[in-house]
């Protein structure tokens, strides 16, 4: 993709970002990123301390737990699955909130990914990043250049995966050279690898949310899912990982794990909530919080089975702004921008408006 195009003007808009994000090997009728995915159902049980921090309905004890639907995905916008490629993975969780009248179901979403931080702290920076990192022809680094890298004590570029022709990696690396905020995300993304199973990765919601408890006390927090089975990646020592079932194994692996656990020990994730502190980058998703902040165990998610109608569920739109009383957005500009971008993306690909139609996208609480 030798490009003579010039970058779209700033400020970034949902339209301009979506335009950049769609890849030539993507599908305009599907998501621009996290294109390949699969959904499963399960339930979430709030921990006994969760209500002390958040009055939201899904953090209250509930017999049998709160029903959830979870979509696991590959981060790439390529429409074909490349499960064994090093890539960010996503975990979007929709909690069904208890309602007096079951016909009036309401929901709240928590959108997470395997990167602990985002690539930029503002929508404009993100647009510049996305532009710089739009997939470009990817060819193997010449042996002599690699040799030179080794003499410079630098990481050589990775070899392309089989059938890989375009990649965002080089553009992202170049962008990060000039932008310190992008460094942690790009570095992590470059070395993130591929999980052996969607159930064997930790997922982070990246943005700060404001939780409010029954007494009205508000706290800035960040959420992460930790797999109880532990985090496990494909062996990274071999440069071209070859899982038993080739480049498309994550969905089968998930099905398999759920079948073998039926009625027994469901695969679980714990939801950890980290409390922000004075001096923390509350509104900057490009900066993860160190592991020394107070972490609260908010509950446990059990995954039971693949949804009945996986095709239909691929049409459902999640949104990081689909919140409920007790949890609100922070002043994170990227988060607010994502809310609008997800909405537009949903519209553009004619995604199922349900259950969105009735739901409110909550903004920061007054």
């Amino acid at each position: 993709m030798e490009s003579t195009e010039s970058p779209p003007p700033l400020p970034a808009t949902p339209e301009s970002i979506l335009k950049i994000l769609y890849r030539v090997d993507g599908d305009p009728d599907r998501r621009p990123v996290h294109t390949v995915g699969i959904s499963a159902t399960g339930f979430f049980k709030a921990s006994e301390v969760a209500p002390l921090y958040c009055r939201a309905a899904h953090f209250q004890p509930h017999r049998g737990g709160h029903p959830v639907t979870v979509r696991f995905s590959n981060g790439s916008g390529c429409k074909d699955p490349h499960d064994s490629w090093s890539d960010v993975r996503g975990m979007a969780t929709r909690f069904t909130l208890p309602a007096a009248n079951p016909a009036e179901k309401t929901y709240t979403d928590l959108i997470a990914m395997t990167l602990p931080e985002f690539f930029s702290s503002t929508p404009d920076d993100f647009q510049e990043f996305a532009w710089a990192a739009r997939p470009a022809d990817y060819v193997a680094e010449r042996p002599w250049r690699k040799f030179l890298d080794m003499l410079k004590l630098m990481m050589p570029l990775r070899n392309p995966y089989p059938n890989e022709t375009i990649s965002p990696d080089l553009g992202a690396m170049n962008f990060a050279e000039r932008n310190d905020a992008a460094k942690p995300g790009v570095l992590e993304a470059a070395s993130i690898g591929a999980p052996t199973c969607y159930l064997r990765a930790a997922y982070h919601a990246v943005h700060t949310f404001i939780v409010t408890n029954e007494q009205g006390v508000q706290r800035p927090v960040r959420f992460s899912w930790q797999p109880v089975m532990g985090v496990r990646n494909l062996d990274s020592n071999t440069s071209n990982p070859k899982p038993a079932n080739g480049d498309f194994y994550l969905q089968d692996q998930l099905r398999q794990s759920l079948i073998t656990s039926i009625g027994k020990d469901h695969p679980r994730f714990t939801l950890m909530m980290t409390l922000g502190e004075a001096g923390d980058a509350l509104n900057d998703p490009s900066r993860a919080w160190p592991p020394h902040r107070t972490r609260i165990l908010m509950g446990t998610l059990s995954i039971e089975e693949i949804v009945n109608d996986p095709e239909e569920w691929e049409k459902i739109s999640f949104n990081p702004g689909l919140l409920t009383d007790g949890i609100a957005m922070s002043d994170d500009k990227v988060l607010k921008f994502r809310v609008e971008t997800y909405k537009l993306s949903s519209k553009q690909r004619n995604a199922s408006p349900c259950p969105f139609s009735g739901a409110t996208i909550h903004d920061t609480q007054g």
């Binding site: 006390v217 004075a278 001096g279």
Partner: protein
């Protein structure tokens, strides 16, 4: 010679404003760079000996009770590490200074919670070039004209990088309306003799050994000695100063009192339980204004003193709020009325229990401060900068100023009840995460106390500049004046 005491020679060798504060009402801090070291050294020599009509003479300490004419002006000097370098102090001697002084205030920013708006990268001139801050000359007088003429003299020998004009506010108050400077250490071997009942320095705290404030003298921890910089003539009887330009958000503070009072009412807190009806005892004009009275209660709890000076700790009950006056004769014993996190208790826990048991009374500081900025009219908010020109003086910046700043003022490490919170008035608070526990009576019997946590305290005080300086004795300044090279 009794090391624990000061003899007359020593007293006359110590710069003024260290062991006792001046009472002159106006101050001028002159931030200086040494561009001509010969001129600077000649100035130092003349400032020590006096008698030069073009150089102000250094003011020294006097024996308490000595019959001397009242001071009409005072003049003192402090040197940064870069200043000592510029004067030509030998490398070996420079290296004998403590690390925190060598690094300077800007490189200690994280320890002092100077981040965000307070980050040294946001400090205006002259503090944007900390390596050019060499000397801080300080003059005190009753009027600006006198200070102007001293400034002119100083400018002859130094490159004037900036000035700060400070004034004492009426009734010994500072912005935020509190009477300030009530509690200061008294020094064994200097302030000797039991203070009379009327003596404002009278306190229940033990007197502090001279090593708290003067290098070369014994400290409270019998075997621990703060290192005296070399050579002895320079280091002995000197001390260190953390000079800070602290901007105060006066309107923000009053707004916070109002909004917190409102929130307490909304939460249905029974205002009798915080002693609102007692406020009228001190503030008769607030007698029938419970809303305003509640604000005063909050202000008192945040500070640990009512704004007119009475320590909360001295109240037998909240109903007897104000009979004690701005006294200093108290300790934090049992059944403390004063919140543990209150400003004065946090920064000087006196004999009260602290986690660092070894540290009781070991982190005492001398504070000399004056306010800067235009007269404040709370009825007419403006965005002018106002604040405090603070001097925090002690023999060890690390063991006193920094120790208080990082473990006590911020963090609150000395009591498990406040650990994780910052000082309500001076701390590096962010509203999203800050909290403070008010003390309330459990019920109308007013016997047992309970806590009521308030949230959302912003940072009321922002650092706008500052420097670590060394305040040598007169012999020390004389030594510097004799350097060559």
């Amino acid at each position: 010679m009794d090391m624990a005491k000061l003899n007359d020679d020593e007293i006359g060798n110590v710069q003024g404003n260290i062991l006792r504060g001046y009472t002159l009402p106006a101050v001028r801090h002159m931030i200086l760079r040494i561009s001509d070291s010969a001129a600077a050294r000649a100035f130092l020599a003349a400032s020590v000996t006096g008698g030069n009509p073009n150089v102000p003479q250094i003011t020294t300490e006097q024996r308490i009770g000595a019959k001397l004419p009242k001071l009409v002006t005072a003049f003192n000097l402090g040197f940064t590490y870069q200043g000592l370098v510029a004067l030509g102090l030998a490398p070996g001697d420079l290296a004998s200074f403590p690390t925190e002084f060598i690094e300077g205030m800007t490189r200690r920013a994280a320890k002092l919670s100077d981040f965000g708006d307070s980050d040294p990268s946001n400090w205006p001139s002259p503090y944007d070039q900390p390596d050019h801050v060499h000397v801080i000359a300080t003059a005190y007088a009753s009027d600006d004209t006198t200070l102007d003429s001293i400034q002119k003299q100083v400018e002859q020998a130094f490159d004037l990088r900036g000035i700060h004009k400070g004034y004492s506010l009426p009734n010994g108050a500072v912005y935020f309306g509190y009477k300030d400077g009530l509690s200061q250490p008294r020094f064994l071997g200097f302030h000797d003799g039991a203070p009379s009942r009327q003596d404002p320095t009278r306190t229940e705290e033990p007197d502090d050994p001279l090593g708290t404030i003067l290098l070369g003298k014994p400290t409270r921890l019998p075997d621990l000695k703060f290192g005296t910089p070399q050579p002895k003539q320079l280091g002995n009887l000197g001390t260190f100063n953390a000079f800070r330009v602290l901007k105060q958000d006066c309107f923000g503070f009053e707004d916070f009192l109002t909004s917190t009072a409102e929130r307490l009412r909304q939460q249905g807190v029974d205002t009798r339980l915080v002693g609102v009806e007692s406020v009228g005892l001190t503030y008769p004009d607030l007698k029938d204004k419970p809303d305003l009275a509640l604000r005063e209660v909050i202000a008192a709890q945040l500070c640990g003193r009512w704004r007119e000076g009475t320590p909360m700790q001295l109240q037998e009950t909240l109903r007897k709020a104000t009979t004690a006056g701005p006294s200093n004769q108290f300790d934090y014993g049992d059944g403390a009325l004063c919140p543990v996190g209150a400003h004065i208790r946090r920064n000087n826990p006196r004999g009260g229990e602290v986690v660092q048991r070894i540290a009781n009374f070991t982190r005492r500081l001398v504070r000399r401060g004056m306010s800067y900025g235009d007269t404040l009219d709370l009825a007419n908010p403006d965005d002018k900068e106002r604040g405090l020109l603070g001097n925090f003086i002690g023999a060890s910046l690390g063991a006193q100023f920094e120790a208080v700043m990082c473990d006590w003022l911020n963090l609150g490490l000395h009591s498990p009840e406040i650990t994780g919170s910052n000082d309500p008035l001076l701390g590096a608070n962010t509203p999203e995460t800050s909290w403070f526990d008010l003390n309330l009576w459990k019920d109308d019997d007013q016997v047992a106390m309970e806590k009521h946590r308030i949230y959302g305290l912003p940072r009321f005080v922002t650092t706008r500049g500052g420097a670590y300086t060394f305040l040598p004795s007169l012999s020390g300044i004389q030594y510097l004046s004799g350097l060559t090279g």
